[in-house]
Structures are given as C-alpha cells and as structure tokens.
C-alpha cells in the first residue's frame, strides 16, 4: 500500500514539475526565437509567420526546448547545427556575410 502511495506521490510531483516548466515558457519568447528562424519549406518567411505544418512543428520544438531549460541562444544554435546559418533570417555579421552588411 505504501509503495502505491509513494508511486502516486512521485507521479504527482513529476507532473507538477512538468506543468511548471511548461508554464515558465512564455509564448513571447517562443515567438521571439521563431521570428529569427527561417521556415524551411517556405521562401523568405519566418517560423513565426508561416502557416505551414512544418513551421508549427518547429515552433513546438522551440517551445519544448525552452521548457527543458535551454536559452533562446541555445535553441537557435540547435537549428544552426542542423541547417547551417542559412536558417537564421539575419545572418551573423562575420566573414563573407560582412560584405552584405
């Protein structure tokens, strides 16, 4: 019986912690990160502006990573590691990109 109670208590604690972490991520932060990332299936639209399913899924990934405790910079770095700096709507001011700036 006490084992059942302990498991139940643990489940409540885990659920509460999960809910709290999710609640800490503001939609504003999600939007801020999404607005800086290129929607990969559209031309020249950000993840925040695109109505496509892919963009929605990318927003979900952004939300999830922020909820897991990553900073907006770390979330952007995750996308850059996979897509290259092409994913950033505003490329960093370094190297060849300086010519454009």
């Amino acid at each position: 019986m006490s084992r059942v109670a302990a498991v139940a208590l643990l489940a409540v604690v885990v659920l509460a912690a999960g809910a709290r972490a999710a609640a800490l991520v503001s939609e504003e932060t999600v939007h801020e990160v999404a607005a800086q990332l290129r929607c990969v299936v559209c031309q020249s639209l950000s993840v925040a502006d695109s109505p496509s399913e892919t963009a929605h899924q990318m927003q979900a990934i952004i939300r999830e990573r922020l909820a897991a405790g990553e900073s907006p910079e770390q979330v952007k770095a995750y996308f850059v590691e996979r897509y290259g700096i092409w994913i950033l709507l505003s490329p960093p001011r370094q190297g060849f990109n300086l010519v454009v700036w």
Binding site: E53, Q57, A60, I61, V80, R82
Partner: protein
Amino acid sequence: MSGRARALRWAIPLAVVPVLVLLAYGFRTDPREIPSPLVGKPVSRFALTAFDGNRVALESLHGQVVVVNFWASWCYPACYEEAPSLERAWQTYKDRGLVVVGVNFQDKDEPAKRFLTQFGHTFPNARDPSGRVSVDYGVYGVPEAYFIDRKGRVRFKRVGPVSDELLKQQIEPLLAEAA
C-alpha cells in the same frame, strides 16, 4: 560644375558596381544547394513506428550502412522517380550490410500507404508525425537522402531524387569500409 559635384556624379554609378557584383554572384548559386553542416558528424538517432507497426530504431543499425530517405506521396514527380531505385539498391546491397530507411514527411496516412504499395517497397518506412526527426536531420524539403557509414556518421546528403548511379557511387565505398 564644382569638383565636389563632379565627384558625386561618378560616385553614384560607381556605388552600383559592388551591388551588381554581389547580385551576379548570388544569382549564379543554386539556393537549394546548401551544404549540410551534419556531413562528417555523428547521426541523430531516432526510433519511429513503421507503417507495418514495427519499430525502426537507428541505434539498432549500428555497424551497417544506412540510407535515410525522406519522402512524401505529394512529392511528384521527384519522389516517384527515385522510388524504384531505392528498392533496387536495398535488394542489391542488403546482404552486404545496407539498410534503407524511409521517413515519410508531412503526409497523410492513406496516400503514403498507397505510395508504398504502388512501388512495392520492402524496406522499413516510418511516419514522422511530430516532424522531430526531419528537423534533427535538417530536412527542408523532399526528397532528401542521408548516407550514413558503419560508424554512424553522416557522409553525404543528397537534395533531390537519387538515381541508380548515385546510389551505387555512394553506397559501394561505404560498404567497403570497416565497421
């Protein structure tokens, strides 16, 4: 005309030159040919449920050469063109250590299953309902194919359809490598 005004008259057309050079360079490059930063890096592992209900887990394929192909039934004609080549490569090389894994991208169940039946694909094919695997691989359209060596590193990324020649060219050297 003063010296200053004369200099300005030249400065304006001259300012256009670097812009033209930049545009001339930019328009010659193919915007779809973006090199994947994942080439040479260890592959992202994934576990998905295949259309036949089996589990497709990448970590269980360690030591084998893997071609991960992202496709969709709405991707016409490119995905339809490459589909027979993928099945042929799988049939040709599976006994030598090749696994082909299809990942269905932004698709509906029914047309996706019809596509698999139409081409008689016998290699594992799975859906990616949350899009997580596609983003983990840096997929931005279909078809795309990733060639993974026996050590689990991405060695080549193909944007666009694969052909028999390209598959042979990429797969054979990877099969010859030691695990």
